[in-house]
Symmetry: C2
Subunit: 380 residues, 2 copies
């Protein structure tokens, strides 16, 4: 029911293309997964997400378990049917959100107790419950519960998290009951090569159909992230998909692909769209800018997306100026297309290793600081 086939490789390098078969369809890798946190990709219909070229979505267990609840989703036929997306879905374990969004009461070897940011209730989350919730949601790929220490964690803290992550992965694997869901293990270890390698080795002893790298893109410099990937990815089994969680910017994705990563997810295309930021190969456009007031060009001349085929920068600026929800809707679709076009071009070029072509076509993916978060950085 699950199969991962590497279909081509970068000559003399680590990048590879593949096909990941799931019960709901095949994912072309390297793949970018748009994020549908609360069973919806914000601002886009499922058909529009599909049309952008996305093969697979991500849903967030933490949010879905609270509202509407895993039981409700299960009763309504599972997450695919609930949200009207019949392609592959991956759910995370909820761990990252517990550690980043919720107030923690207690973290122990048994699990973690957190206070919901919705209703203030204290909720226990254990490897067993995280797995059971994901079993109910019914995604094609589910994630083992991991401990996510802060990005600046010292070696001792990171070591404790690795130990616990491995033990929780073992319990998750044991608790996992559905054969139509593949469970991935998550490699933690912060920025410490020894811990990353230890975690990767221990997880492989357990044996997972895929491996994720967690705890990156949490504030460390781009170069540090790349260095960690170059250490840990070669230590993962070459015949299993590798998923870099929560990444990211085109530049990060490009380097991660070159390090051998196959899967990504990030809220950037959708979140930035709602902040009036359009991704383009040369960098970002902030559509609230007065300079676009009379600009008849599409966001990105030549872009085949429905937004660029139908609307001008001036129109989109107008929509944001007056607060029309169609503004975020149009930018969301463009940004989704942008990320999928970026991935498609990567897949085209991996067999040739033509990174110079990639950077010529997407110069922002090679520029430090270009195309960063709209709250700061160096934009076009």
């Amino acid at each position: 029911m699950f199969e991962f086939q590497v279909t081509s490789r970068e000559p003399g390098g680590q990048a590879r293309c593949g096909l990941l078969t799931t019960p709901h369809g095949t994912v072309r890798t390297p793949a970018f997964m748009p994020v549908g946190t609360r069973a919806a990709v914000k601002g886009a219909w499922p058909g529009q997400v599909r049309d952008s070229g996305a093969d697979i979505l991500l849903g967030n267990t933490y949010h879905l378990a609270q509202r509407p609840g895993a039981e409700v989703i299960a009763e309504l036929g599972g997450l695919h049917r609930f949200m009207g997306w019949n392609g592959p879905i991956l759910t995370d374990s909820g761990g990252y959100q517990v550690f980043s969004l919720a107030a923690l009461r207690e973290i122990s070897d048994d699990g973690v107790t957190f206070r919901s940011h919705i209703d203030g209730q204290w909720i226990p989350l254990t490897p067993e419950s995280a797995t059971a919730i994901q079993n109910r949601l019914g995604a094609d790929i589910i994630m083992a519960l991991d401990e996510c220490p802060p990005g600046q964690a010292d070696h001792d803290t990171a070591a404790v998290a690795v130990r616990r992550t491995v033990e929780w992965a073992r319990r998750c694997r044991q608790a996992h009951s559905r054969t139509d869901q593949a469970m991935f293990g998550i490699v933690q270890g912060g920025i410490y090569a020894d811990l990353r390698l230890e975690c990767a080795a221990r997880l492989q002893e357990l044996g997972f159909p895929g491996y994720a790298v967690g705890g990156l893109s949490v504030g460390e410099p781009h170069e540090t992230m790349v260095e960690v990937l170059r250490t840990v990815v070669p230590a993962l089994p070459p015949d299993r998909p590798r998923y870099l969680m929560g990444v990211g910017m085109p530049r990060d994705i490009l380097e991660a692909v070159r390090a051998g990563v196959d899967m990504f997810d990030c809220v950037l295309p959708t979140r930035n769209a709602r902040n009036a930021y359009a991704f383009t190969p040369a960098g970002g456009l902030r559509l609230r800018n007065e300079k676009y007031r009379r600009d008849p060009d599409p966001l990105e001349p030549g872009c085949p997306c429905p937004t660029c085929r139908g609307f001008s920068r001036a129109y989109i600026r107008h929509l944001f100026t007056v607060g029309e929800m169609l503004g975020p809707m149009l930018l969301t679709v463009h940004n989704l297309w942008f990320f999928q076009r970026f991935m498609a071009r990567l897949r085209d070029l991996i067999p040739t290793g033509s990174w110079a072509t990639m950077l010529a076509e997407f110069p922002a993916a090679g520029a430090a600081g270009a195309c960063r978060d709209p709250t700061g950085g160096n934009l076009a």
Copy 2:
């Protein structure tokens, strides 16, 4: 370039079907125009509006003249191109909004000076400027500037408004310069039959390619509105389209069609969608209601719209509960389809006069108080 052809009539009644030809396409009447106040139908892509069956949209001159400005829209190729809608468009004159949204400084025979609700500037609006702005926007159908007295205006106040409306209509007609735009006159006169008939007669002396009925659906009882229509519509030329402005609820539309009205516009499908209200033939659904939490049915079983084909009430309720913008987006599309299906069925049945069939299929259109505004009323 403009032609109105009555293609069928209700046996022994006033209702009729027609085809209104404009430079951007043909409108099947009776027609419902979704409202794109600020050059966007809130929550829907133009293609989705088209797919719902809408032939023609309405844009609001008052809003567009302020942001982004008629000059900007003209420079960008006119309203059709600006908003990505290549079908027919009608713009109002801005008069209604001046009288309802803005602070008025002065109203005289020359025109009106109002304070913008956007930036507080005092702006003069005259028949000539209202026409010039609409000429720049470039809609297929434009409206003469009228004076809109309050709904409860007494006979004297309404009489002054009629006199001014007729004089302004004359000046608008004179100022109108584009041959690819048809200008409609607006019949005022409040609830007073003598004034309505006088206004209709005076406007016909000027001669317009179409006539609107303004100043209804402003708080008067349904029966009063119908009574006014039964008085004024027969006094309008049968070979010209008749447009009832700002209406409305299915029940109001049904009775207006029976009185011989051809065109309608209203924000209800889109505004109610954003308030979690779905129109159905039997009445409205308030999707925030707890009772839909586990409801696997579509909004309206059998409805062919993309929302009903893809999503359950439970899912839509979830989207509103968590504040996902996809909730309003899905309801907007359903409500747009509902109104177009309602109009299409009216057009089907007019040649037969089978109003009993219409009411059997859309029972809410016959029930007083059913399907009212979501802020109150008797809902399913």
